[in-house]
Assembly symmetry: C2
Homo-oligomer: 215 residues x 2
Amino acid sequence: MTGQVRTVDGRVAGRRGQATRQKLLDCLSEMLSSSPYRDVKVIDVARKAGTSPATFYQYFPDVEGAVLEIAEQMATEGAGLTQLLDGRSWVGKAGWQTSQELVEGFLEFWRKNDAILRVVDLGAAEGDKRFYKLRMKILNSVNNSLTDTVKELQAKGKVDKDVNPAAMAGSLVAMLAAVASHQRGFQTWGVKQAELKPNLALLVHLGVTGKKPTK
Amino acid sequence: MTGQVRTVDGRVAGRRGQATRQKLLDCLSEMLSSSPYRDVKVIDVARKAGTSPATFYQYFPDVEGAVLEIAEQMATEGAGLTQLLDGRSWVGKAGWQTSQELVEGFLEFWRKNDAILRVVDLGAAEGDKRFYKLRMKILNSVNNSLTDTVKELQAKGKVDKDVNPAAMAGSLVAMLAAVASHQRGFQTWGVKQAELKPNLALLVHLGVTGKKPTK
DNA sequence: ACCTGTCCTGTCATGCCGTCAGCTTACCGA
DNA sequence: TCGGTAAGCTGACGGCATGACAGGACAGGT
């Protein structure tokens, strides 16, 4: 049950319809990366897709609806971020490696989808539950995994008892997301990508294990 | 030279004009916290302020212009965040205290101005230089101070040479800002405010000094 | 009372929104 | 081959926000 694609008025979308729908999504996605969210107009998206506004409204209730769609696609893709943590070690040099790869993968994912992630972030911050859930879905894989890691280390007595695993993991993930979406900002600040990553990795390692990494 | 307040068409604003202007700003500010940025309309702001859209356009070129104005006010106010760090110690128990107070003050400031800060964040992330500069202005006080602290500790050999002070400070500040703007999010995640703060403080302390705090 | 410059609004052209009825196109079974 | 049916698309329209302007209301000074 993948849930058939339907138009707003209930018709099931066929071959051609789905193509148009997808084209609209692609164009919207492109517009989001070239102009402010606030200024994205349905008519522009439609024109760019070589169709009319009315067609847009056949497939999406409004711009927000379409954005949610794009974000949903991205979210499932983003579940792959779990790979960055599944079965990795946090001990010794391997721990440092894990930390670095997490940062690397995370920033890469964010850079690839920055336009849509900005909008999701805003929606979530504004308290919209749908966007909030979506943001969770994306971050949860990483977050849960980190939380578990901290819990384990805590059980072994390697991390202080008064650390709250969920809070720690959440903070680290939030940090990664924030830095990722302001990557350009750091450059103007005089900090280069290459210098940023190891510092982030260091913070992640410190946060998770409570110790400096062995390099 | 505070730079006289002027209308869009160049007249200097008098007593009454400034009052109206301020009222518009207040109403806009209020609207921003109750509805999505994308849906804030000039006409609503004007109505709420008991005036007409035309009046709004006499004082501001558009909604964005007014937002920048509000943000500017907040930015100067936010320079006070420096207090949280000026002349504080990062050694021993005092260091833990400093870290905690920084987190506390930062979150408080963010909570107080969350609506407008969201918009600034979005604008900055979208690459708008004006918003970007504003964000810098707000964060710079804290950021510079943290950078200096790390540099000092590094000079004394208490922090690893391969830590980049600016990158570290920037990451920590970004983390604080991100967590602050998703405070509600954490609650739904099952993390309570009271648990969040000490964990953030711990991360800040770890990042700045490289060591666990003495409590 | 009069003048001057500030302040506000009625009004208007423009352009986007969101909807509908109706036309075209593709598919399918007889 | 030929309708029939459902999918797919669009022109057109009322409604509303935008942004500009001219002109009227108002306050303060003389």
